[in-house]
């Protein structure tokens, strides 16, 4: 990870050498993309919104892949002694289902929200490092494709479970290449998440609009920020684990081989030190979405903003002290078990605070059950079930009965699907008009929601019972006579209802798009929402804000629409249309697109294939990566031939002010920061008015 990622972070340093001799065609290979329309634009874009959309679309593709795997699992388990899949294939399918859903669906879907919404919610023109942002996406995608390519070229998927416990993941017990693809694929995807985490943290900390104090940031941005910190510190741990696993498998080391004196529990510790924060990485973005949706449709501010933020921070911190609750029966000793049991129980407290605060937000509100609101409320209820069953696992003695049974499967699906996925799909319904400029049909959305809620509970509710009745996890079949038959069949039926609901979602997207032509456009603020992304047109113009708003408080946008009269009653001071920006700014200078992130990202899987099959393949892979970095460094951030009337770079120098100048000169990020935030947001007079 570090090997390749280091120069990426540092690459821009060499920009200086390139700036004066502007290379329009670095290395003479790819013409500097000019932006515009069509696929080229998507391949070279550095626009956080387009990148967010690409994350979202790719995530949904992998949702379908993981979903098909889930359906195969459920078909296999529908009846005793199921014969749909062989044991070998079943093990690959459930492993890849877990890996796909966690790393290739929920995380990128959350990344889609983070990319799209963080800059909008804090009033920025883009993220801190737009090209690195593009790099993150392409690297993630190349890792995801690499991981799944093992079905075709690796002799099947990984067959060690998503947790990949050693020594079962060793070469002896898993001789196919599946686990190699798992290790290297996740390493590649990890680079993407790390780069993206750094990028988004810097964005949150440094790119806020004037007046946007940390404690005026919307809860969603806060939760996403905490998520990025968790990623920042959790990823290196799994990186170490994956490297060691790779060394074991490819270079004959013996980190996890007990026959050679390796310790299988080391893997478990490393994996879960990453793996437990990962749970919060998955769930916190959904918490953030819920915290935006519920106030909007309750017509009230979020109840206890400060508690919401600090409980999120508390979860982020406590999430580091509970990892061994995944290991209560692994033989870590009763004292450790007791300690981790207690720490796990108390992480329920900040989570409980969130649930109660959401309900208090609804309390006394005027609740409109739009589809987004239904999903948000469904998230609260389903997550509560998952949280409560989590408490029963925290009780270590009871966990010895529950762990590695379907009770656990039920629990984490209630948390990850019921909490995470429902919340994020609610977010899709909520921000869809903002992103795509048309509304998703509410009636079909409600069908989507109820199908999903019913299917979800039919699938995973019975798993509580199955687990307590003693059905082990990860079994490819079960015998009749243990009482597993009925509820497994119910779960299988439920899983197909979920599949139907996902189809309903896609249908809604497609049909609503077709109908949108005959409907009035949604306008900037179709939900009467609260945060500043709703003050700009839908879909969001490329430059985001005509002028970067100055923020006076929490729920800035709401306060631009409403005030209080002397009696403390809410009065409208402006309609959304009046208060919103019209997106008419022209000549806003934006960071130029680049092909190099894509080139660099293509090199990484080549290195991966090389490590697995033939080291010679690493050569072109390494060359591509090296060329990407080199050309990246030579490519000026700013394209002098950009079609719009641009704001010349040199303008930055004429302030003669060391502080800013150093910013400018450092390279990629600050330049783009300067360009994004500093470029004349609007025609001069307007800008002056906004600023002073």
């Amino acid at each position: 990870m570090t090997i390749t990622e280091k120069p990426v972070t540092e690459g821009p340093l060499e920009l200086e050498s390139g700036r004066e001799a502007i290379a329009e065609r670095p290395l003479g290979v790819l013409t500097r993309p000019q932006g515009g329309r069509g696929w080229r634009d998507w391949l070279s874009t550095v626009d956080h919104k387009k990148i967010g959309i690409m994350y979202g679309v790719s995530a949904m593709v992998f949702f379908v892949v993981g979903g098909v795997e889930a359906l195969l699992i459920r078909l296999q388990l529908a009846v005793p002694n199921g014969g749909v899949l062989s044991a070998d294939v079943y093990n690959q399918v459930f492993t890849m289902h877990g890996v796909t859903m966690v790393f290739l669906f929920i995380m990128p879907l959350a990344a889609a929200f983070a990319n799209y919404l963080i800059p909008l919610q804090i009033g920025a023109r883009d993220v801190a490092f737009p090209r690195l942002n593009a790099l993150s996406y392409w690297i993630w995608l190349s890792g995801a494709i690499f991981l799944n390519s093992s079905w075709i070229v690796g002799g099947g998927g990984a067959d060690c479970g998503w947790f990949c416990y050693s020594p079962n993941s060793g070469l002896t017990f898993s001789p196919s290449h599946g686990v190699d693809f798992y290790a290297i694929g996740l390493l590649i995807a990890g680079i993407a998440s790390l780069v993206s985490a750094i990028n988004l943290i810097v964005t949150c900390l440094n790119m806020r609009a004037p007046g946007m104090d940390l404690f005026r940031m919307p809860v969603l941005t806060w939760m996403l920020l905490i998520t990025q910190f968790l990623l920042l510190f959790a990823l290196p741990v799994i990186t170490v684990a994956l490297f060691l696993l790779m060394f074991d498998r490819l270079f004959d080391a013996s980190f996890f081989n007990p026959d050679m004196g390796g310790d299988p529990l080391l893997w478990q510790h490393l994996f879960w030190i990453f793996g437990h924060p990962e749970v919060y990485i998955i769930i916190l973005p959904a918490f953030g979405v819920v915290s935006e949706v519920i106030p909007t449709f309750s017509r009230k501010p979020i109840f206890g903003y400060t508690f919401m933020v600090f409980s999120g921070i508390a979860i982020g911190f406590m999430g580091w002290g509970v990892w061994a609750h995944h290991m209560f029966v692994s033989g870590i000793g009763p004292i450790s078990v007791a300690a981790f049991s207690l720490s796990t129980m108390f992480i329920a407290v900040p989570t409980g605070v969130k649930v109660l605060n959401w309900m208090a937000t609804m309390w006394g509100g005027q609740i409109r059950f739009t589809t987004a609101m239904l999903f948000a409320v469904g998230t609260v209820a389903m997550f509560t079930i998952g949280g409560l069953s989590g408490v029963t696992h925290a009780i270590a003695p009871a966990d010895t009965q529950q762990t590695d049974t379907y009770y656990i499967v039920a629990h984490f699906h209630y948390v990850i699907f019921g909490g995470g996925v429902l919340g994020l799909i609610g977010g899709l319904y909520f921000w869809w008009p903002k992103i795509f400029g048309y509304m998703l049909n509410e009636r079909r959305g409600k069908i989507n929601f109820w199908l999903m809620l019913i299917g979800f509970n039919l699938t995973f509710g019975p798993m509580h019972i199955l687990g307590l009745q003693g059905m082990s996890r990860r079994i490819d079949t079960y015998s009749a006579g243990f009482g597993f038959e009925f509820w497994n069949l119910v779960a299988t039926v439920g899983s197909f209802i979920i599949a139907l609901s996902v189809a309903a979602l896609f249908h809604n997207v497609w049909k609503s798009k077709r109908e949108a032509a005959d409907l009035p456009p949604p306008g900037p603020d179709p939900w009467d929402a609260r945060s500043i992304e709703w003050m700009i047109p839908s879909p969001v113009p490329e430059h985001n804000f005509d002028e970067v708003p100055t923020v006076d408080g929490l729920d800035e946008w709401w306060h631009r629409k409403y005030g209080f009269d002397d009696d403390g009653k809410v009065v409208q001071i402006a309609t959304a249309e009046e208060a919103a920006q019209d997106g008419s700014a022209e000549g806003v200078h934006l960071p130029a697109p680049s092909f190099w992130p894509l080139v660099l990202a293509v090199g990484l899987p080549l290195i991966g294939y090389g490590l697995i099959f033939n080291l010679w393949l690493c050569v072109p892979g390494g060359l591509l990566v090296g060329m990407g970095i080199f050309a990246w460094a030579l490519e000026p951030v700013d394209d002098p031939d950009a079609p719009h009337d641009h704001h010349d770079d040199d303008d930055h120098d004429d302030d003669g002010d060391g502080t800013h100048d150093s910013d400018d000169s450092v390279g990629d990020g600050p330049d783009e920061l300067a360009l994004a935030a500093a470029a004349p947001a609007t025609p001069g007079d307007k800008q002056g008015g906004a600023r002073s």
Partner: protein
């Protein structure tokens, strides 16, 4: 929660579970046939238990669970030991608390949804609700409230945690080869792909430290044991039996839900655990840590017998197998087949113990077959060795010997150069050879009682 209340709740809950459970009768029957003395008493005791059952109907949450517990051999709520009861006595109240919290949250959401609902398809109009942004006192309250609830649960958890992790010294006297030995009931449990081995050290005290040491007096990296069996662990009732759990390849997990929670078998670690059964019976288990191809087909039973029966079992296990001498019999031919094809992996004391040096498998082990026919399951607890009518289940046994991979997936055939089988290979025996070797195996008794056969019936 006071003890009487807790036991009341748990008893009620268990009763509720049983009330729907078709297995109760058969379970009682199983228990009965195993205790030579008190079958009627135990049946009567069960019957008495039924009369208290109405209490259970109160507990809706548990009823939901109970409604599903039909004939579930692995049901965690059908506890049959002190430890399993302690766990459930902790679990029930927490489940009830969780149920109440869930009902409150969902109830409140529904109530709010009904009470505060405004049309969703129209924009907001009219006056705003009061814009309450926070209430610190309230919020501190519902930070402390859950913390208090969790503290109570934490204390209860710690108490139970200490209880289920404590062990007691309870040495019993057993006769081994005519000698009286003082034996601290302890079984070394060894997982390997995809079966369990149970090792009994009756004539020496064995500790976790001893197990890690390799030495001359060792087979397959563990000290030589007095009794080695596979798939079925026989334990005396009413005694706390310590387990020392380990593995020879990947991580497995040993779980007999009726008697205690599970514990992982980790290669290189010797993890202490314990089991105890109140009454004679057969208690089912399943490997619960994903261990590869046949994870789902790695099963086992704990067979609890009265102390008297346990002594009989020891006596039988200490005997060597008797080999056929009449050359015209199928058994004799089977012995030759065994020597040619099976003896490189399987040990039959009395036949190949002279030159046996571990199995040619990855784990170095294969089930000890000396008393094969004395057990009631084979192939990792997957198949019945006997039909319900008491005859040998030759169909499954022949299928297993014919091609093990067909009936239980493994990695034993067509291996790449230099790797050892994990599981039983296809030995390419003819049908004649198969029936001969089955004839031999059938002699490796002593044959279990009819009752035992009925009680262990899997599927």
């Amino acid at each position: 929660m006071s003890d009487p209340v807790r036991s009341l709740i748990s008893r009620a809950a268990r009763a509720a579970v049983f009330s729907r459970s078709g297995s109760l009768r058969s379970r009682a029957a199983r228990a009965a046939v195993f205790s030579r003395s008190g079958s009627l008493r135990s049946r009567a005791a069960r019957a008495a238990g039924f009369s208290r059952r109405p209490l259970g109907l109160v507990l809706g949450l548990v009823l939901v669970l109970a409604g599903c517990a039909q004939d579930a051999e692995l049901d965690t709520f059908q506890d049959r030991s002190e430890t399993a009861r302690q766990i459930n006595d902790l679990m029930y109240p927490v489940l009830i608390v969780a149920g109440v919290v869930l009902a409150l949250v969902c109830g409140a959401i529904l109530w709010l949804a009904v009470k505060n609902r405004v049309p969703a398809d129209k924009d907001y109009e009219g006056e705003f609700p009061t814009q309450v942004s926070h209430n610190n006192r309230l919020e501190i309250g519902w930070t402390i409230g859950p913390a208090v609830i969790m503290t109570v649960i934490a204390v209860a958890t710690l108490i139970t945690h200490v209880a289920v992790n404590s062990t007691e010294a309870n040495a019993i006297e057993v006769q081994v080869d005519g000698q009286t030995e003082t034996w601290e009931p302890r079984v070394v449990v060894v997982g390997q792909q995809w079966w369990w081995e149970y090792r009994y050290y009756l004539t020496r005290d064995i500790t976790t430290e001893d197990l890690g040491k390799l030495g001359e007096d060792a087979d397959w990296e563990l000290p030589r044991a007095d009794i080695v069996t596979a798939g079925q662990m026989v334990i005396p009732t009413g005694q706390e039996v310590e387990l020392i759990i380990t593995s020879r390849d990947v991580i497995h997990s040993h779980w007999i839900p009726a008697l205690n929670g599970k514990k992982d078998a980790v290669p290189g670690l010797y993890t202490p655990w314990k089991l105890e059964a109140d009454e004679p019976g057969v208690y089912f288990g399943q490997c619960t840590e994903f261990c590869g191809l046949s994870h789902s087909r790695m099963r086992m039973q704990a067979v609890a017998v009265t102390p008297g029966d346990f002594q009989d079992w020891i006596d039988a296990q200490m005997d060597e197998a008797t080999m056929p001498t009449d050359e015209d019999t199928a058994e004799y031919r089977g012995m030759e087949v065994f020597t040619n094809y099976c003896a490189s992996c399987h040990l039959v004391t009395g036949l190949n113990d002279g030159d046996y040096n571990g199995a040619e498998t990855y784990s170095g082990s294969a089930p000890d077959l000396t008393h094969f026919a004395g057990r009631t399951t084979f192939a990792g607890g997957l198949f019945n060795l006997y039909n319900p009518d008491g005859s040998l289940n030759d169909d499954d046994l022949a299928a297993w010997i014919r091609n093990p991979n067909d009936v239980k997936e493994n990695y034993a055939d067509d291996l790449p150069e230099g790797s050892l089988p994990r599981g039983m290979p296809d030995m390419g025996l003819s049908e004649r050879q198969i029936s001969d070797v089955i004839a031999l195996l059938a002699t490796l008794g002593p044959r279990p009682t009819e009752a035992q056969i009925l009680a262990t019936e899997v599927e």
